[in-house]
């Protein structure tokens, strides 16, 4: 019998549950290695070769190479893990979040300073605000 997963209808959100953690194990553990400067350097020198050292799917490798963070979320990566890619690329968490939100960093910061994204209309998939 399947588990109840009542969080599946939250829009724009991927919950890092057992399914995702299983799917993303290697991509997340790859990200952990980027906390060391010598690994970041080696990764940036030849990203493809570094990724090929890990038993990740081609789609996961592609998403890392493309820095497609929303794709990474679907493929089992978690933001605290692929956040290591943000500082490999020398971008802030604010910038990283703005990329996933599909906004410029200026617009995103403006939204945050004005009180953040409203929960109204953002609680359920298909909900109208």
């Amino acid at each position: 019998m399947a588990l109840d997963k009542p969080y599946k209808d939250i829009p724009g959100t991927t919950i890092f549950d057992s399914d995702q953690a299983r799917l993303g194990y290697h991509v997340n553990q790859f990200c952990m290695t980027l906390m060391k400067p010598e690994n970041r350097e080696r990764f940036l020198e030849n990203e493809r070769a570094y990724l090929d050292e890990w038993p990740m799917s081609e789609a996961q490798k592609r998403a890392v190479l493309d820095r497609d963070y929303n794709a990474l979320l679907k493929l089992g990566a978690n933001v605290y893990y692929f956040g290591k890619l943000f500082f490999t690329d020398k971008i802030s968490f604010e910038k990283g979040a703005s990329l996933m939100a599909g906004m410029s960093q200026d617009d995103y910061r403006e939204m945050m300073v004005s009180g953040g994204r409203s929960p109204d209309g953002n609680r359920f998939i298909g909900e109208k605000s």
Binding site: I15, M100, P119
Partner: protein, 279 residues
């Protein structure tokens, strides 16, 4: 006897630590956030707690996916500052309180809370940012610290109810420790925020303010909130708020609110802060 005198909660956003470390606290973006901690800095200088029981979470720094403890207590003598990728924060090493930590461990495991015991571990911004907010930039931390790490990253975290009940067990353990100590418990993380996906940037000020109100007078109602409500209403990372319930569970039923502060934003997050005194 050890005495639990107060509980404190605050968010532990990494950018707050960076703002202090880089001397940016007077910038217009940051000033209102730090002003809300001026009372707290003066208050804690007068309280001089001996030990902080510090509930926080690690952020894929010390714990990767190889080991995922739901609750872990730091029983070591000292805890070095983790290098999260840009070098360790320039803050003092954290000194543990192993006698009390080992005592709490034994007591709460006997009450059916199956903690993981950690003797060697590094601590990340989740633990050091709260110390910075309360103590500024001292050469050494003026208190000893028991790190208490909660998994809130790999779903599911412990339930709010479980956290609240664990807080009560921790309180009984502290009360039964023979050394004369002034102990505080801190619950950190939150408040509403979402760091991931197209919904990143979600903030729910109404949820947060209600949470702060109920934390004082009606924590039982908060203990009943299911995970999905936090994630839906307060953002996927807003679920960190269950850690505040460990703090609240450890305090008396009736507490006195000494101070409250709420500010949006710090980077992606709504920052909340409250000081509750055991009446």
């Amino acid at each position: 006897m050890a005495r639990l005198s107060a509980g404190v909660s605050m968010s532990h956003v990494p950018a707050i630590g960076a703002a202090v470390d880089l001397g940016k606290t007077d910038e217009p973006y940051w000033r209102p956030l730090f002003e809300g901690f001026e009372f707290s800095r003066a208050w804690i200088a007068g309280e001089k707690p001996d030990v902080i029981f510090l509930v926080y979470n690690d952020h894929a720094v010390t714990f990767g996916l190889e080991t995922i403890p739901t609750f872990a207590i730091g029983c070591g003598e000292r805890f070095e500052i983790a290098d999260e990728g840009w070098g360790p924060r320039p803050v003092p090493t954290v000194i543990g309180a192993p006698d009390l930590a080992w005592h709490v461990r034994q007591s709460v495991i006997q009450e059916d809370f199956d903690l993981t015991t950690l003797n060697e571990m590094k601590v990340d911004h989740g633990l050091t940012v709260p110390l910075t907010l309360m103590y500024g930039q001292p050469a050494e931390w003026p208190c000893r610290v028991i790190p208490f790490a909660v998994n809130v990253i790999v779903y599911p975290p412990p339930s709010g109810r479980r956290c609240f009940e664990l807080g009560k067990a921790i309180r009984r353990a502290i009360d039964s420790f023979d050394e004369d100590l002034n102990v505080q418990i801190w619950g950190t993380g939150g408040m509403s925020h979402q760091l991931q996906g197209p919904r990143a940037g979600l903030i729910n000020q109404e949820f947060d303010r209600n949470f702060l109100d109920a934390l004082v007078d009606d924590p039982e109602s908060l203990a009943a909130i299911p995970h999905v409500d936090y994630m839906r209403d307060a953002g996927s990372e807003g679920i960190e708020l269950v850690m505040w319930l460990i703090m609240r569970g450890a305090l008396n039923k009736k507490v006195k609110e000494l101070h409250r502060h709420y500010h949006v934003p710090a980077s992606n997050t709504a920052v909340g802060h409250i000081i509750l005194q055991n009446d």
